[in-house]
């Protein structure tokens, strides 16, 4: 069986507490009939919405269980997820100032990938990625970036992306904003899934003919990789190379 390594690194926005982190990430492997499916997803809860971290976690968990592989799945699942979100956030009585915010709902991006391996000796296979909003997937092969999804340029990031909402009325144009990417993978490939702040840094570095994946690989194998990541993000923020925002990355190395 090919060896697959996952590493998730995350840090909250500077000035906020760990409890106020509103990104989410989940990885999962599902085995059946000699095949293996790897799921990994990140979601970024919007600052300007309520209980967005809870919503982001619900989305990544649903994706990683294989429950939202297509736009039809997503549209089917949203009713149930929205109800669950509402039940969780109204478990305690709401303050007057939270009632309107809860009514408007939570909003989050979602970017997830399903990587398929067929047979125990698979050294290649296919993947399918889906995204709504500005969280991104990168695929690196033999030191070359071969896929950027759904954003291709660092200047495309803005403050007003279209996001998935727990308020179903806000999801009416979901289909227009749903992005899909499919391709193949080979042993040695690496997938990197990121929320917007680090994705924007990544693409900017790449546009300047640097190899940002090397920086992330080094961080992922550091002895205390979580602290190393926190220190590095802090350095990038202080030097204005990275926006001060919740920052999350999942690195998946296929056969390394």
């Amino acid at each position: 069986m090919i060896s697959i390594k996952f590493q998730t690194l995350a840090v909250q926005k500077d000035g906020n507490t760990v409890d106020e982190y509103q990104d989410a990430s989940t990885t999962n492997t599902i085995k059946y009939d000699g095949a293996l499916e790897i799921y990994a997803a990140v979601a970024d809860g919007a600052t300007d919405s309520y209980f967005a971290g809870i919503w982001a976690r619900m989305l990544t968990r649903a994706f990683s269980k294989g429950a939202i592989e297509t736009i039809d799945d997503l549209q089917r699942q949203l009713g149930c997820l929205s109800e669950r979100w509402h039940n969780v956030v109204t478990r305690k009585p709401l303050n007057w100032y939270d009632e309107e915010g809860v009514e408007k709902g939570a909003f989050a991006t979602l970017c997830g990938v399903k990587i398929s391996l067929h047979g125990d000796n698979a050294n290649s296979g296919v993947f399918k990625a889906t995204a709504i909003g500005d969280s991104c997937l990168i695929q690196v092969r033999k030191e070359k970036l071969i896929n950027m999804f759904p954003i291709n340029c660092s200047s495309e990031f803005g403050n007003n992306p279209w996001l998935i909402s727990s308020n179903l009325k806000s999801n009416q144009r979901l289909l227009d904003h749903y992005k899909l990417c499919q391709g193949d993978w080979q042993s040695g490939d690496c997938f990197i899934i990121m929320t917007d702040a680090i994705a924007q840094w990544f693409l900017h570095e790449f546009e300047n003919e640097l190899r940002p994946w090397d920086v992330l690989f080094q961080l992922s194998i550091a002895v205390n990789c979580h602290q190393a990541f926190i220190d590095w993000v802090s350095e990038m923020r202080n030097s204005k190379k990275m926006k001060n925002d919740d920052t999350t990355v999942i690195i998946i190395k296929m056969g390394c």
Partner: protein, 278 residues
Amino acid sequence: MYKAEISRKNPALFVFLLDQSTSMEDPFGGSRSEQSKAAGLTDIVNSVFYDMVVKARDGETTKNYYYISVIGYGDDVSSGLSGSLSGKQIISIEELANNTLRVEKREKKESDGTGQLVEKPYKMPIWVDPVASGMTPMREAFLQAKEIIEPWISDHSEGFPPIVINVTDGEANDGDPEEIAEDIKQLKTNDGNALVFNAHLSSSRSIPIQFPDRIDGLPDDFAKMLFRMSSNLPQPMLEVAKAESFIVGEGSRGFVFNSDFVNLVQFINIGTRPANRG
């Protein structure tokens, strides 16, 4: 410029100047014509405060992204807040959220989706009640605003520039406020000059005006003076305003006539604002 992040680490200061002179008893010529201008002012200011509280909440905590100072001017020039916030010069948004005078239950008309208008209950937090008594010492109010802003800037030199929002029905009678407003606009952080915005509440039934880019067409000399005192909307705010479908251009100023200005706060980005939030 005007791109400094607004966060706990780098909070933004808003100074509200509220006209409480006797003439504010006169009827408001805006959409709420059954009200006095003083009641129109409090409705607008309470709505802005509510909006700021909601923006600083994430459902679980109130993030002190904003600090607020409220100065009332009429019989005297002093704190415009009462109750437990009385006399406080600067308060955090968390203190504001936790110290309403009361929360009123009101009703508003909303479409039920079939074209019928139905009464929908909502809660309206009250921090400021109508006051209409005395002269209009607007110049002194701007002087006090300047005294609040100066030390803030030296403590927050990397932050978003302070914003003064003056809500008035017009003429100052303690001298010229324009030159003090100009002095305030010269104060700056490394992210830009302090901003002065004005909301003019008039008894005139002229049509509401939002963020005009020229003085021609403004209904009276008071409106023209307040237009001159108002800062241009900075580029990042213009971009948000355009995205929210407001008609604004390069010369648009932070000035409204007989109109709400809740939008002014919404134009300031504090992070991701979903395009489909509505």
